[in-house]
């Protein structure tokens, strides 16, 4: 799916045909010939998983980016030049992601990079982008080091950090249900940071951690962890697992009848995940990073309608769609503000930049922090509606502004070239 020059209407098939034809041309002739007429377009390279376990999330991000692309081009593009989006599939494999980042930079000569669902790919492309001095907008990939210990001047991030995910929900859960919590945590960096953050917040509020089970990524059977959890009789069972793992875990918790015994809360949930949950597993308290149903927020309704018009497969935009949308818009905003395509200048322009209402699509102030390049977007803690039919599956309890919960000391030291 390369050279997604999408004029209007985002039908995947036409894109495919154009893509194949242009791709072939690109290989057999110098790239410049493809754009013989008019000025060279500004190119944004996007890597995301369109195959494998995270394919649904990757597809959502791409759709969001394509919507933003159409809008940006309608309003005159970047510095008066047309914008193109080149997407590359990396299947959530960090090595392939780095390879594709090289391809986008060296072969397609993209001006900016964006993408990532898995944290590992975010980290590997983070490295490549910095080596090459190309601005990189991380869409997904929550692990703290991306805008923390391994931050680079080239890297900005749309999605929230693991710490913010925890902080967004912890207060709500504590107030509602009490302070004795049991955790089931995926056994990798993301999970560890998230659980650490929760434990810290919980102790700060005066609660106790009854126990924490570490489950390997890709676990299909959660029964042993659920048994331990059940024995500790917690006020809240906190599930920090993500993606398909979460579906498995929730289904099993429901089948064991645990969901009737104590409230279940969690870290991150995603609309893509909620869609696949059977009724009995549709419950508990979670954080979304964006939700389509915000009746009081301006522009959201129109945006959702635009999405539904472009994609007629019955789906609704998710937080991932918004990541892709906001990511591409942010790049365009920064470049237009800097009146330049130079990554250093655009990066400087993005620092402190506030997203306008029609892009942020949420009530609170949303901006990039200048010292770690983390976007201060909101968390949407709330409860799953058990009998809700997709897309009415979530009831947002609060919209917590990002800069109220984000850590100030992230360990990031930006390394701009001298």
């Amino acid at each position: 799916m390369k050279k997604l020059i999408v004029p209007k209407g985002l039908d995947r098939r036409t894109v495919l045909k154009t893509g194949a034809a242009l791709g072939a041309t690109a290989v057999f002739s110098p790239p410049i010939l493809t754009y013989a007429q008019g000025e060279t377009p500004v190119k944004i390279g996007m890597h995301d998983p369109f195959t494998g376990t995270y394919a649904a999330e990757g597809e959502s991000e791409r759709r969001g980016a394509l919507m933003a692309l159409a809008e940006v081009n309608k309003k005159g593009g970047i510095n008066g030049r047309k914008v193109e989006l080149v997407t590359e599939d990396e299947g959530a494999n960090a090595g392939i992601a780095a390879q594709k980042a090289h391809k986008l930079i060296e072969q397609d000569k993209v001006n900016f990079l964006m993408g990532a669902v898995s944290s590992a790919t975010a980290l590997s492309v983070n490295q490549v982008a910095h080596d090459k001095g190309v601005l990189y907008m991380v869409t997904g990939g929550h692990t703290d080091p991306v805008t923390g210990t391994q931050c680079h001047w080239t890297t900005f991030r749309i999605c929230t950090t693991t710490y913010m995910l925890a902080a967004g929900l912890a207060g709500t859960l504590y107030k509602k249900f009490g302070g004795k919590w049991y955790f089931i945590t995926p056994d990798y960096a993301f999970g560890h940071t998230l659980q650490g953050s929760y434990a810290k917040l919980l102790k700060g509020m005066g609660g106790t951690v009854l126990g924490n089970s570490l489950s390997p990524l890709g676990t299909t059977d959660y029964s042993s962890y659920l048994i331990k959890a059940q024995q500790s009789k917690p006020d809240v069972l906190v599930l920090l697992v993500d993606g398909q793992d979460l579906v498995n875990c929730m289904k099993q918790a429901a089948q064991f009848g645990l969901t009737k015994k104590f409230p279940i809360g969690g870290g991150l949930s995603e609309l893509e995940v909620l869609r696949a949950l059977p009724r009995e597993a549709k419950l508990g308290w979670w954080t979304l990073e964006w939700y389509w149903d915000q009746p009081k927020t301006p522009h959201v309704k129109e945006w959702v309608a635009a999405y539904r018009k472009a994609y007629t497969d019955g789906s609704y935009p998710s937080a991932r769609t918004w990541f892709g949308y906001a990511g591409l818009h942010a790049i365009a905003l920064g470049a237009n503000k800097a009146k330049s395509l130079e990554s250093v200048k655009v990066a400087k322009a993005l620092e402190g930049l506030e997203l306008p209402p029609e892009v942020k699509l949420q009530p609170n102030k949303v901006y990039f922090r200048d010292f770690d390049h983390q976007l201060m977007s909101s968390e949407f803690p709330g409860e799953i509606i058990q009998d809700g039919k997709y897309p009415n599956v979530f009831k947002v309890a609060d919209i917590v502004p990002g800069d109220k919960i984000a850590l100030k000391d992230t360990g990031c030291k930006l390394d701009y070239p001298a």
């Binding site: 376990t53 597809e59 390997p216 299909t220 029964s223 042993s224 099993q252 009724r279």
Partner: protein, 289 residues
């Protein structure tokens, strides 16, 4: 102690899944000499077809028809792609072929049904805990065990008492002699491949009830199933079932004491078994060496 019992029991249930996969895989490996990397693909086919058929046939109908259709697709694939490579001496080429096939199946599944996860609704009657105390024994888990046991026993009876089964067993032991006795081994191998795919499809439908459906869902089950076969010993179907149960049990027990190692333990077990018994528990000399 109570926790250990719980975990051990749960491990056994997980092992039932491995056993079901391993059984089909072992059938195909033993008689067709094909290392079927596409077995996970047939699992996915069975599961998605059942998902699609549930609105028309209900869960029970889909439970039967889904796997059978996977078997039929298996028959077609065998005829077109697998049969031409039987005459190759080295089974390694079957690895490349079925690996390609697995990619095609996963991609087709995603193209047809989309990349997002889909829920497979299990009837309420088998979807609640059996008792408050033993809450982890859900009706569905017992049901999975029951269906697997029935399928395994059915296979045993088939192999033991029907002409087809006797021929399959003879073919596993000595294909040349079986052919020399006038058995049409092409037909035999085709049917056997179909049986293997039915088992994969069945595993798919049952697994979907616990895990939900995604196009790559078969990938995570294929390696543990190979491990089950090796621990049991190549050529022994009973060994494959036992191997599946053993690694499930081991993973369950280890989870109690050291959860981080629950995945690694099945590989450690295979390593130990192979060091002590070079051909697994019931493997026969000369097969695939």
């Amino acid at each position: 102690m109570e926790l250990l019992l719980f975990n051990a029991f749960n491990g056994l249930i997980q092992g039932v899944f491995y056993a079901l996969m391993a059984l089909g895989l072992a059938l195909i490996l033993s008689l067709n000499s094909v290392i079927n990397m596409a077995h996970g693909g047939f699992l996915v086919i069975g599961a998605y077809l059942a998902y699609t058929l549930i609105p028309y046939l209900g869960f029970w109908g889909a439970l039967i028809v889904g796997p059978v259709l996977a078997g039929v697709i298996g028959l077609i694939v065998e005829r077109i792609l697998i049969r031409p490579i039987y005459k190759r001496v080295d089974p390694i080429y079957s690895l490349l072929l079925t690996f390609g096939l697995a990619l095609i199946i996963e991609d087709m599944t995603r193209t047809i049904w989309g990349p997002q996860g889909l829920p497979l609704e299990v009837p309420d009657i088998i979807n609640s805990p059996v008792s408050e105390v033993y809450f982890f024994i859900t009706g569905y888990r017992l049901f999975v065990m029951g269906v697997t046991a029935a399928a395994a026993i059915g296979l045993y009876l088939l192999l033991r008492y029907t002409l087809l089964g006797i021929r399959i067993r003879a073919g596993i032991r000595d294909l040349e002699t079986t052919a020399a006795l006038g058995v049409n081994i092409y037909k035999l191998r085709a049917l056997n491949f179909g049986f293997g795919c039915i088992f994969a499809g069945l595993a798919g439908v049952l697994a979907a009830g616990v895990l939900g459906l995604t196009p790559p869902m078969g990938n995570s089950l294929i390696m543990p199933s190979f491990v089950a076969i090796i621990i049991g010993g190549v050529g022994s179907l009973f060994g494959a079932v036992l191997g599946g149960l053993i690694i499930g049990l081991a993973a369950g027990v280890v989870t109690t004491y050291y959860p981080a190692a629950s995945e690694a333990v099945i590989y450690l077990m295979m390593l130990i078994v192979l060091v002590v018994r070079p051909r697994g528990l019931f493997g026969e000399e000369g097969l695939f060496e």
